[in-house]
Amino acid sequence: MSENLPAPDFDSQRYERPNQAWICGHAAEGSPCRSGPDNCGRCRATAECVPGLEKPAGESKGRWRCTRPGGACETGPLPDGSCCRPISKCSPVPTLRTRRGQLTRAVVTATVALLLICLGGSWRGNFINPGELSTPHSSAAFAKLHTGTNQSDSTCAACHKAGALGPNGLLSAAWRAKPGPFEVIQLAHTRPGEMTAIDEACQKCHPGHLLHQPNVVRDISCSFCHQEHRGAGPIAATTDAQCALCHGDGVSMAAAAATGASLQPKNGTTTDSRPAAGFTQVLHRFAEDHPEFRVHTDKRRDPDTLRFNHARHLTGEAMPMLPNGQKLECASCHQPNATGISFRRINFEQHCQVCHSLQFDPETPGLTLPHGDPSFVSAFLRSLPRQYADFAARSGLTTEADRKQFAQEKLQRLQARVASGEDFEERVFFSSATTGPEVQVGSVRGPSPALYPGCAYCHAVKSGAHGKAEITNPVLIERWLTHGEFNHARHVSVACTQCHAAATSKETADVILPGKSSCAACHSPQGGVVDSCTTCHTYHKKARPLR
């Protein structure tokens, strides 16, 4: 089917000019006029020639002569000097180039108009907003706090001064920016984390920039870590790279160590919760160069005076079953709090009493000593007749005589076991024995059960003024790692004993927290669990003393 098309016949007088803006309307018919349209697209066709007036010497009128290119026409000019062959007018057609230019101009105009409308209208804030604000900074409360800071009633100007400016103001603000658009050297020399103008706005609501450690050597811009306009929800999480700006830099850490060494202990926080030089070890990743937890490096001991043996409670063969028939386990005492992050405080009534009854009379299981205040215990012991009588009443003896007789019988039996009331009170407070004197029953000889394993069985009891027993209050430390967060709820799939060496801990003083290696087994690239700084640490957290 291939067939030669009409060959382009090149005419040096009438070749195509793609750069011209308009072409003759007759070109499509193959007969464009010679003059062609003007630059504005108007047809310039008049006639085939412009007759010339020939006026020989001596003649006054002269004669019109045809000047048509290619030869004079047959009829010649009209008497009035006009050409006899007028060319019909056409509607010039824009070339593709002209149409493209028209479209370009239209698009440019539309773009400028769109930008002017969007920048001048009430939706400017939304239009130039590079991304959704975090939830706290887009909340109704924030808007109420900063209402009217902007022409468009949005809250841009709460943080950005330029947010309240019009188009001219924006240009001016851009020109006056520090560093400015053309201050390339200053742009290059800016140190990471330098304070910027926007930090002033941050600190209007968040005063007190230094919430980190007292030995921080320079202020870090809020926006260095907290990048806004990254979407709804909490503000974008800080990355390890941002922490490594200081903690991965030896020079910064050395300066921080020097600053920390010169700090005076204040309110106990610097001596207790942080080392003298501060936390200045250069580190990059948790599993690699994060220091061991200080609770282990400092070989800290639990200061609690309450005697408790984790190993015996968990693995002791003689450990009785709980009333519900279950074996004692970690969760029997360590019960998660409402959030699940940590545990409810251990207390005697809920966690100990079920096994460690304060029964002092082996023959009267229902009557127990009060717990909590030694003076109450003393008062209880010194009013035993009354306590027995009340117990009798609670047990169903209704007459006074019965109750009195019940109390008398109990007292007589109790007195047979002790030397005196003082002796009994002393044994209640100070005895730590769980067995009594040896007895022989038939052919079997062995220790008898103690009348009562005294308060000193668990508590540190000392004799105070006038022989009064004084019991040291237990010190239950809720958190040991005060500079890191830990969420037990997220670790429920891991057995307690996998991290805490409770099964081998026999001393109260043992701090059975896991070491770094235990955490790094999972929280490392090898373990596959996130190991970023912010997994455990929060920058803006004051050091909490042990409690």
């Binding site: 089917m1 291939s2 067939e3 030669n4 098309l5 009409p6 060959a7 382009p8 195509e16 072409i23 070109a27 499509a28 018919e29 193959g30 070339t95 593709l96 149409r99 493209r100 479209l103 370009t104 239209a106 698009v107 440019v108 773009t111 400028v112 930008l115 969007c118 239009f127 130039i128 907003n129 590079p130 991304g131 950005h160 330029a162 924006l170 240009l171 603000a173 851009a174 020109w175 920016a177 658009p181 390339v184 742009l187 290059a188 800016t190 140190r191 990471p192 984390g193 330098e194 910027t196 103008a197 926007i198 930090d199 809020c222 926006s223 260095f224 990048q227 306009h229 979407g231 790279a241």
Partner: protein, 272 residues
């Protein structure tokens, strides 16, 4: 190795090298330089201005600024490199705001239309050359008019005197000769419309006498010529139309980019 092929391999090598270096520099400097985004932004703007200068160069042919072919090569490879710069400037993250989203879309459209134009300018001229003949785009309307006149003279003129051919022309071919036809089939290299017309001509042949058949042969030749003209029209129009997207959007992109610079510095102070 031909000159074009050598140019192609050198260009690809330089593009890959520059892109690799840019990504390496990004990985090295992005975390360390606080004003990194400003630098990538300026470099990107410079690349965009270099790309836009190609159009200015075409408007100033009289200045000794190098030949247009060199500029075209620079425009192509710099355009691809600018895509890498653009992604680096975005930190390989999609923008979310209206303004920045529009800016990114404009960039994508300009780049996409440019790539489409490059593809068309590599494929369509080859197809035009294989079809035979050479037609100047601006003369296509005149040639079409001439073919139409010739066809009408052949079928409707006084000399023909063939009612069957005249009726056939009016019924089947008058619209075909009236203007450009079968744009998409030609673009998709389909000859189905021409074959359909040829089949109709062949059907008509059975009812004609010898002299009418000679006229029909001439008419069939004109139909094929008109189809070839339409083919050129379709492909050459496509070759020129992509610029109707690329150029206007480039101007729009430049306006948005300049405003972006103004906004970034006006709202600077914490911008990263």
């Amino acid at each position: 190795m031909s000159r074009f092929r050598r140019q192609f391999f050198i260009g690809i090598f330089l593009l890959a090298l520059a892109s690799g270096l840019a990504v390496m520099a990004h990985n090295r400097w992005n975390p360390a330089l606080p004003n990194y985004a400003y630098f990538t932004g300026w470099v990107l703007l410079a690349a965009m201005i270099l790309l836009a200068l190609y159009n200015a160069r075409k408007r100033l042919p009289f200045l000794p600024l190098g030949n247009s072919e060199t500029w075209a090569q620079i425009h192509i490879y710099a355009g691809f490199f600018a895509v890498v710069l653009f992604l680096i400037h975005l930190n390989f993250r999609l923008p979310t705001g209206w303004f920045e989203g529009t800016l990114a879309w404009l960039y994508a459209l300009v780049t996409g239309s440019g790539i489409a134009g490059l593809f068309l300018s590599r494929v369509l001229p080859r197809r035009l050359a294989t079809r035979g003949g050479e037609v100047i785009y601006e003369r296509i309307p005149a040639l079409r008019h001439a073919l139409r006149q010739e066809a009408e003279a052949l079928t409707l003129g006084d000399q023909t005197k063939s009612p069957a051919i005249a009726e056939f022309y009016v019924r089947e071919l008058s619209d075909f000769f009236a203007g450009p036809r079968f744009f998409w089939p030609h673009l998709l290299e389909s000859r189905r419309p021409l074959n359909a017309l040829a089949a109709k001509l062949e059907n008509l042949r059975r009812f004609l006498n010898e002299s009418e058949r000679a006229t029909l042969e001439k008419l069939a030749r004109l139909v094929r010529q008109k189809d070839g003209l339409d083919y050129h029209h379709a492909l050459q129009t496509t070759l020129k139309l992509w610029l109707f997207v690329h150029l206007p959007l480039t101007y729009s992109l430049m306006i948005f980019s300049l405003l972006h610079v103004v906004l970034v510095f006006a709202f600077s102070g914490g911008a990263r």
